[in-house]
Amino acid sequence: MRSMPGKTLYDKIWDGHVVTEQDGEAILYIDLHLIHEVTTPQAFAGLRASHRPVRRPDRTLAVADHNVPTEGQALGIGAVADEEARLQLQTLERNVKEHGIEFFPMGDIRNGIVHVVGPEQGRTQPGMTIVCGDSHTSTHGAFGALAHGIGTSEVEHVLATQTLRQKKARNFRVNIEGEPIPGVGAKDYALAVIGEIGTAGGTGYVIEYAGSAIRALSMEGRMTLCNLTIEAGARAGLVAPDETTFDYLRGRPSAPKGGAWEMALSYWKTFFSDDDAAWDREITLDAGKIAPLVTWGTSPEDVLAVTDRVPDPESFDTPGKRASAVQALEYMGLTAGQPISDAKVDVVFIGSCTNSRIEDLRAAAKIAEGRKVASHVRAMVVPGSGLVRAQAEDEGLDEIFLAAGFEWREPGCSMCLAMNPDKVPPGQRCASTSNRNFEGRQGRAGRTHLMSPVMAAAAAIAGHIADVRDYL
C-alpha cells in the first residue's frame, strides 16, 4: 500500500483553517484581518445596510496609511488637505469606533503601512490565515502565514463571518540557492523571479520560497520577497518559519509571552513542507547569477540587469507583448538599445511596504553616507511606520540621509501610489523601491523604475540609474 503523499506548508495551513465546505468552495477561517481607509468604507456601509455586526473585532486591526500626508501628522486629520482623503480617513475612524476595532490613527507611533505594522506588532504569526483589502498582503507570508489580498466585497464577508470563501490554489516551489554577489538582495531575487515567470506566471498558485539563499535572508528580506509575489500573479508567497522568524517575533507587543510562547512555538514548528510533498510546479534560481536588477517598462516583469540595454519590442514573441512594449518605451521615454544606466532620474523614492523597514533604510544609508544626492534630484525616504522612523533616528540614519540631501518624511504609502501629496510629476523619472511601475502609478505620466534600496540610493547620488557595485 502506498502511503499518503506529504503535505506542503500551504496544504497544512489550508487544512487547519477549513471550517466547512459549501457549493464546492471552502469556508476558510481567517485569523487576522487587517484593514485600511481605502478599501473598507463600502464594506462597512454594506454591513450597516444589512444590520450585520463585525464578528471578531479582536481579530481585526486598522491603520491609516494610503492617503496620509508624510508631514505634519502630529496635527492629526488637520494635516490632510485633500477633502476626499479626509472624508475617507474620518469614515474609517467612525467605523472602527462603532465596531470596537483596534486602530492606530495617523500620528500614533505604531501607525504606518499596514504590511509593516502587522509584523512589527507581532500580530502576524506563523500558521495563520491573514487577509486585507490590499494585494500586497502577500508580505505576511514571510512568516509562514497564508496571507493574501481580497476585494471590498470579501472584506465585508470577512468582517461579517470571519471567513472567506475560497478554492484551493496549486503548489509552486521557487528554490533560490547559493550566495548572492555583493549589492544583490531580496528585491533582486523577487524581480528575477518575476522576470523569469512573468506577471501571470504565478496565477493559480501559492509560491513557497525555499533554498539556502532564502534561509539566509532576514525577516525584512523575506517580507520584500513575499510582498512582490503578487506581482508574479500568485495568490500568496510563503517562507517556512525558522529561528530567524521566531527571533523576530520574540518580545513583540502582540507575540505570546511566557508559557503561551512555548506553546505557540511548538505549534509554529509544525509549519514546513514535508520532504515528500508534491509540487505542481518548481523552478530553481542560482542567487550568485543574479545581478542588481531594474525595470525598464511599465510591468514588473520588464526586468533587466543594470548593465543591460533596453530591449527591442520586436524581440517579444506575441503581438500583444510587442504592442505593450512599444507603448511602454514611449511612455517611459526610452529607446530600444540604449544602456539603461543612461537614464537620468529626477526623483528617488525609498519607501513602500516592499522596502521601508529598518534594514532597508540601513542599507540605503550605507550608500548615502558621506555622499551627496545629485543636484537635479529630489530624493525622499519614507519609513514604513512610526516605529521604524524612531528606530532609524535612534541609529542616526536620519542625519545621514539629511546630510546627503534626502528628505526624511513621516510614515505612509506615500509615493508608492501617490494618493497623498507625494507624486512623481508628469514626464519625470523615478528610481523607486516600491512594487509597481504601472503607467501613472506614482503620479500621472510619471515614469517608474523599480529597484532595491541600495540601487535607489546609488541612483540618487549618480543622478541616473547606476550600478550599486560602484558605490559599495
Binding site: 457549493d23 477561517y29 496565477t203 504592442a323
Partner: protein
Amino acid sequence: MQAFTRLDATLAPLPLANIDTDQIIPKQFLKTVEREGLAKGLFYDLRFDGEGRPKPDFVLNRPEFKGAGVLVAGDNFGCGSSREHAPWALMDFGIRCVVSTSFADIFYNNCFQNGLLPVVLKADEVASLMDEAKGGNHLVTVDLEAQTVVAPSGRTYAFAIDPQRKEKMLKGLDAIGETLTRAADIDVYEMRQALAKPWLEDA
C-alpha cells in the same frame, strides 16, 4: 450581486496585455466612500488627455463602440492592485463581460462578487474575436447558461466556468447570506481553536 444570464451587446477590443487595475481605475478615484459613480474614472488616462479632453482614438471614445457592454482584452487582464473599484467602474460604465486569455486572481474573484462575467478563451480565439471586433459589426451575444460567446460573424466560442460560480452568478446570490447559513459551523470551529491556540484569544 447583479445576476448575469445572457447579454447582447457591442464588443470593444482593447488589444493590450497586462492591463492593470491602476489603468482600469486610477488612484484619484479611490477616495470615494461609495460604490457608484466610478464610470467617470474608467480607463481615465487612456480615455482622456492631460487636459481632460477625450482622446478620439481610444476605443471606448469611438462612436461605433458607444455603449459597449463587452470588452475583449490581452493577456493577464486586471493584474495589480486588489481594488474592487475596477469591476465597479466597468459595471458603472455599462460593461458586463470581459474576455481575455487570462485574468489576475483577485480581479477574477472580484468580478464574481459583482456580476461582471470574466470569460477565458484560448489565445487564437481571443485574437480572432479581437479581429472581428475591429470590423464593421460589433454585436456579440454572451450566454452564461450555454457558456458561449457568439461573435459578430456567428462563430461560437464555448468557455469553461466553475459550476458553482456560474450558478451564483445566474441567480445573483449574496455570498455573506450563504455563508451565514453555516454560522453554527463557524461557532464550533472557533471553540475548538480557542482551546488549541489560546494565545490568540487574549491578543
